[in-house]
């Protein structure tokens, strides 16, 4: 455990170094959030009855999404790991007395956490001062807030284990390009990064909510402003735990299998 903690620590400290990049990212995120919210407002003005969430809940959703982008953006995948697999440096990692799966897990969590910590506060603080229905609201209740934090962390873990699945699969395909493209666009769409899940037609939505992708950002961001009822919240969190276990098990199994038959690409 100690060695993974130090991997975590190392990556976390490294992630905190990129402050200028974070600043640039924050500016982009403000613009993105602003565009999204203005778009939702236009739809709301046209037909308020067809709107599936309250307007301020939608705005909160968008700002939280921007603030915790580093948690859930699957395209922010670690290129070092792909490079290591492609150019053969993975051999060094395999020599170490650590499980590469757990090591990758620790370092991915650390990178995302560091990134999010740098970016989330400026976004959240400014968004809190933007007038109602454009800015972010206070959480629905203290209980909702606690559940939100729990679900946020679970969502982070699900996202990271999902990325690990992509890394492990790269052992088999060698070139990460194709896998990466397919997975990232699937995740973007099904997780509610393009538009929040409640905006999809009802039948489709109830199916999408069962998929592992809905256990990434969808659950946490909707719990925050209570756009799910108590039963739905319970179900969403249980699903998150379920998918976390399943994806981790699948990843570990595949990883063990890959390690046995691994071919190191010459360096």
């Amino acid at each position: 455990m100690k060695k993974y903690l130090s991997f975590f620590h190392l990556r976390f400290a490294m992630g905190l170094q990129y402050r200028t990049a974070a600043l640039a990212g924050i500016i982009t995120q403000f613009a993105w959030g602003g565009i999204q919210i203005m778009m939702f407002h236009a739809f709301y003005r046209t037909d308020a009855a067809a709107f599936p969430m309250s307007l301020s809940a939608t705005a909160s959703y968008v700002w939280l999404q921007q603030a915790f982008l580093a948690f859930f953006a699957v395209w922010m995948i670690e290129n070092d790991i792909f490079d290591a697999i492609v150019n053969g440096n993975i051999a060094y990692e395999l020599c170490r007395p650590v499980s590469i799966y757990s090591m990758w897990f620790a370092r991915s969590i650390a990178t995302r956490l560091a990134n999010a910590i740098l970016r989330c506060f400026p976004v959240l603080i400014v968004a809190a001062f933007i007038p109602q229905s454009y800015g972010i609201d206070a959480p629905a209740s203290p209980v909702h807030f606690l559940l939100f934090v729990l679900s946020l962390l679970l969502g982070l873990a699900v996202t990271v284990t999902f990325c690990l699945l992509i890394y492990v699969l790269t052992f088999f395909t060698i070139s990460p390009q194709g896998l990466r493209i397919m997975f990232t666009s699937c995740v973007e769409f099904f997780s509610g990064a393009v538009i929040p899940l409640p905006f999809f037609p009802d039948k489709m939505r109830s199916f999408m909510e069962l998929l592992p992708f809905a256990s990434m950002q969808n659950a946490a961001l909707r719990i925050y402003s209570a756009s799910m009822c108590a039963d739905e919240i319970r179900r969403a969190i249980l699903l998150q735990v379920f998918w976390l276990v399943v994806i981790t098990a699948a990843g570990k199994l595949l990883c063990r299998f890959a390690e046995k038959r691994i071919i190191v690409q010459g360096g």
Partner: protein, 261 residues
Amino acid sequence: MKTIRLYLHYVSINVRCIMQYKTSFLLSAIGQFLVSFNVFLGVFFMFQRFSKVEGFTYSEVLLCFSVVLLEFALAEMIARGFDTFSGMVKSGEFDRVLVRPQNEILQVLGSKFELTRIGRILQAVVMFAYGIVKSNVVWSVSKVCTLLFMLIGGTVVFTALFFIYAALCFFTLDGLEFMNVFTDGARELGKYPLSIYGKKMLLFTTFVIPYALIQYYPLLYILGRQTSIVYMVLPLAACWFFIPALLLWKYGVRCYQSSGS
């Protein structure tokens, strides 16, 4: 004439270079397609729920979105060398460009020709065809001309933004990521007719960065909501934006100090 031939030569070198890695090219093109396909799906499902947005129907929005996407993809394909210019400045590659007896803009343009954007272009063309069939626009010569002007004007405006992005690298030695707000952000904004974002946004995109001139106003003409000829030629007027971009670039070249590497 000679410049054009030289540029085409650059393009052919780039294309042959990309074609050496066919799988990689194919996958990147598919990736480009999927990324914008997601954006399209977002619009599609919004209109499953809402029939209109501020008086624009689905097919009208699609028409507008596809034109912006096409303009953006074209500009990106042509001016990709400017988009990745920070690397050229940082590595000192630009020094080599300056000592050659050729125009520096041509050389930077020729340094990269991003054929993978064909994925996005394909997407835009399909969407556009779909939009046309659905929107029952009665096409006339003047409307086709308007469309052509939109493509020209839009590509010029986006190219100008890439120029500005590159010119700023002379002063910062590094790419300024926030410039994405104006390029990718404009594409994002352009999904819907700009008037839906309110008066202030429309004013900004009319007079400061002329997105509305290449999107909203000519669209009104194509949809037959405005008949004045002014709306038809506005996209060409948007080309004024290229002048400050070019001046900034020239100024940047004059101030250029090699990074020394």
